[in-house]
């Protein structure tokens, strides 16, 4: 079958950045301690099943949402050292600290289904949820597995496939097809990965699975569900689709076929702050600092950022590796600027404008935290409008928020279509924090009772 090329209006292609993950896979050493938030992937607080001082096995449930609901599993065997509320992702939640006993073994999931082909879809979905791999709805017309590679730094799907093997992926897809009766399977990879996509399709075909392939343009934020799903499937079907990343399929298969709980995550190291940047297989909950420590470049101050330089959050070295980790970036802090930046050739400077050599010659670009300019008034250059993936007008909207005019006009101008991709802030010539202003505007509107209703026009 032909591979469909998927583009969308707006967005921005980061192309090649120096310091991207290397094509190697290493095992991270077992952590001495892990920290795990007793919270579901959807953000709900869960009831603790264990007490401080208790001994737990890797794979044992620490907390549960109802019966058969989402759970948080211990990711190392050891003793619960601490169980108390702590700051977590901007809020507060109960966090368990486990001191590991150094053993790498784990308990299989209760109710595993080695003969999954004979199991019911409900049982498969429940196991997927309890293993921590994926929360699947009862019904879905489409399932999209993506590795969009739309960020400046991306994990390599080739390495993930190497880590688990082609059979694992195909079996995972078969399990998904079984768990979601009648579902159509889609695989969406960057257009550079056409050969890989074809290989996967061929292997799936041998198992009688039909897989629809999509070659993605790779512009940021194509991996965002609000951009990817309507683009691939249309507005109506896009709403009834499930979106998983490649790694979730592997974890799901391990949970169902082997009874293996989701204890680990393959996280790609990236950023010029690191001398080596392998993909690491690491236990969930491992302090991020421990993961990057062996690879840090000496004498360079770096900021740890999880998953995305554009949309991700900065993390302290003590922060634990979350379940949804994909990339861990050490981006160099740059408080110095550069010499005559307005006239510099810019051999490694990324810009949407083609005023730097790196953009003209397709050279690898260097990322750092400098603002690369001073704050100025908006000159309506239109860059933010050009890159906006949901076709709203940050340059107009931000003025209302700045003047604190928060009323129906903002709703009418579709501020609630904003998906917080942050691309407008990235490209702004005047260094205006457009995305933050839009977020503030949306929050204030919600407070005033003017929240989003039907926001798709």
């Amino acid at each position: 079958m032909a591979i469909r090329y998927e583009n969308f209006s707006g967005g921005y292609s980061f192309k090649r950045f120096a310091g991207s993950p290397e094509d190697t896979l290493l095992e991270a050493p077992l952590p001495a301690k892990v920290r795990l938030a007793l919270r579901s992937a959807a953000g709900a607080d869960l009831t603790a099943l264990v007490k401080t001082g208790e001994t737990v096995k890797a794979g044992q449930a620490l907390a549960l949402e109802g019966s058969g609901g989402a759970s948080v599993l211990a990711t190392v065997s050891g003793r619960i050292e601490e169980l108390k509320p702590a700051a977590w992702l901007g809020g507060k939640t109960k966090v368990a600290t486990i001191a590991g006993d150094g053993s790498a073994d784990w308990t299989p999931l209760a109710g595993r289904l080695p003969d999954w082909r004979a199991a019911s879809p409900e049982a498969l979905r429940e196991l997927a949820l309890r293993s921590g791999a994926a929360a699947l709805p009862a019904r879905a017309a489409h399932l999209v597995v993506q590795a969009a590679e739309d960020e400046p730094h991306n994990p390599s799907p080739e390495i993930l496939l190497q880590a688990w093997g082609m059979e694992t992926l195909v079996e995972g897809l078969a399990i998904l097809a079984k768990a979601l009766p009648g579902v159509r399977l889609h695989l969406a990879l960057h257009h550079r990965r056409r050969a890989l996509a074809a290989r996967i399709q061929l292997a799936a075909g041998k198992q009688g699975l039909s897989l629809e392939l999509h070659a993605l343009c790779g512009k940021y934020p194509q991996a965002h569900h609000a951009v990817l799903l309507p683009g691939l499937l249309g507005k109506t079907d896009g709403r009834q689709a499930v979106l998983l990343d490649l790694q979730a399929v592997f974890h799901l298969r391990d949970a169902v076929a082997l009874g293996k709980p989701m204890l680990e995550r393959v996280v790609a190291l990236a950023g010029a702050g690191l001398a080596r940047r392998p993909h690491l297989r690491a236990r969930i909950g491992t302090p991020l600092g421990e993961l990057v420590q062996p690879y840090l470049r000496a004498g360079r101050e770096s900021r740890l950022v999880l998953n995305s330089l554009i949309g991700g959050s900065a993390a302290a070295p003590e922060a634990p590796l979350p379940r949804e980790a994909a990339v861990l970036i050490a981006v160099p802090e740059n408080r110095e600027g550069g010499f005559l930046p307005f006239a510099a050739p810019g051999l490694a400077s990324d810009s949407r404008s083609l005023t730097f050599a790196a953009g003209l010659l397709s050279l690898p670009k260097k990322a750092d935290t400098n603002l690369h300019g001073e704050h100025r008034a908006c000159i309506s250059c239109g860059f933010c409008e050009d890159v906006c993936p949901v076709r709203i007008l940050p340059n107009i909207l931000h003025r209302y928020v700045q003047k604190n005019v928060i009323d129906e006009t903002l709703v009418r101008f579709q501020i609630f279509r904003c998906i917080d991709c942050n691309l407008c802030s990235y490209v702004c010539t005047s260094k205006i924090p457009l995305a933050r202003l839009m977020r503030q505007g949306k929050e204030k509107l919600v407070k005033e009772g003017l929240g989003p209703r039907e926001v798709d026009a």
Binding site: R335, G337, F342, T369, G373, A377, E385, I396, V427
Partner: protein, 342 residues
């Protein structure tokens, strides 16, 4: 780099130079770049900034400016210098009063202004014009980004109206000393005479200093569009509508309206379409608005060229459409979001 930075830090802290702090900070920023880092996502930023943006515009105008110097020698240099010095003083004064850094938009205004003057313009008039343009065209609105009109055009219109004789009847061909009242557009109006296109392209005709070397103007305009600094919609709509309408007009009224190839190359059209109508601040910010704006400029330019007493209509048309830019944006937004569910 570090020593330079500490030098500027020391100067900015000095008690003696305190009133000049904004100027010192500006120069420090130009030389050493920004020290500020991102506080949240996005953790990295595009390297474009206003200084680079404006530098790109200046670079794009360089062929036209260099040609002006080649054509008119020291007079052109002196006019550019006076424009920068006088406009710069006003800019610095406002920065000091506002206690804010100097805005880079002036670097473009300061170059555009002398380039849209006749080479015969006396230097004192350059000073008066740029002072008026920067003051009334920009500073009274609150500086770059808040102005409604293109500041260079405000200055130009002011001296055109104040000194009509000097501004529209004293032209000088490159490499000659003879002063004449005739411009290619005027020659067509009075005697249906079409200046050869090659002369227009190479600038061997009368006109404002910067508009003459049209090959260079076109190259600069394409550079701006290629680098994405100027939006392509405005020049395309402007030049396209002039071409289309004058083609139709020339078929209907050949004795009154010149053919499109002449229209495009005559007068300040190319310079205006590439370097002034594209000014993002004073043109509409919506995409649809940019089309309307460009087409409006085209229509008004032709109307003035052929149905008014003035010889050239480019600056009036851009200034006129500048006034409508906010209205155009409002209309576009109302249309765009008319059917939106609230």
């Amino acid at each position: 780099m570090k020593t330079l930075r500490s030098l500027f830090d020391a100067l900015a802290k000095s008690r003696l130079l305190r009133p000049f702090k904004p100027v010192i900070q500006t120069i420090g920023g130009i030389v050493c770049g920004s020290r500020e880092t991102t506080a949240e996502a996005p953790h990295i930023r595009d390297h474009i900034e206003i200084k680079r943006y404006m530098s790109a515009v200046i670079l794009a105008m360089a062929p036209a400016a260099v040609a002006a110097v080649v054509f008119y020698g020291w007079k052109a240099v002196a006019m550019i210098a006076v424009s920068y010095v006088v406009g710069g003083i006003i800019e610095v004064l406002f920065a000091l009063i506002r206690k804010k850094e100097i805005e880079e938009g002036f670097l473009v205004t300061g170059l555009i202004f002398p380039l849209i003057l006749p080479p015969t313009a006396p230097l004192w008039m350059v000073a008066v014009g740029i002072a008026f343009g920067v003051f009334f065209g920009k500073e009274v609105f609150g500086g770059t980004g808040r102005n409604i009109f293109n500041p260079a055009l405000v200055g130009r219109i002011f001296i055109t109206i104040a000194f009509p004789e000097l501004m529209s009847a004293r032209w000088q061909k490159p490499f000659t000393d003879a002063v004449t009242a005739a411009t290619p557009l005027g020659l067509f109006k009075s005697g249906r005479e079409l200046t050869p296109l090659v002369d227009l392209l190479l600038g061997q005709v009368t006109g404002s200093m910067g508009e003459l070397f049209r090959l260079g103007v076109i190259a600069g305009g394409l550079f701006l569009i290629f680098t994405r600094v100027a939006n392509w919609r405005v020049p395309l709509a402007y030049l396209g509508s002039v071409a289309l309408l004058s083609w139709i007009g020339n078929l209907a009224l050949p004795s009154l309206i010149a053919p499109p190839q002449f229209q495009l190359l005559a007068g300040g059209l190319l310079f205006g379409a590439f370097f002034m109508a594209t000014d993002p601040v004073s043109s509409p910010s919506t995409r649809a608005g940019k089309w309307v704006f460009g087409v409006g400029c085209g229509i008004v330019t032709l109307l003035i060229r052929h149905f008014s007493g003035f010889g050239e209509g480019v600056m009036f048309s851009i200034l006129f459409m500048n006034a409508f830019a906010p209205l155009i944006d409002t209309l576009v937004l109302n249309l765009k979001y008319r059917t939106a569910k609230v």
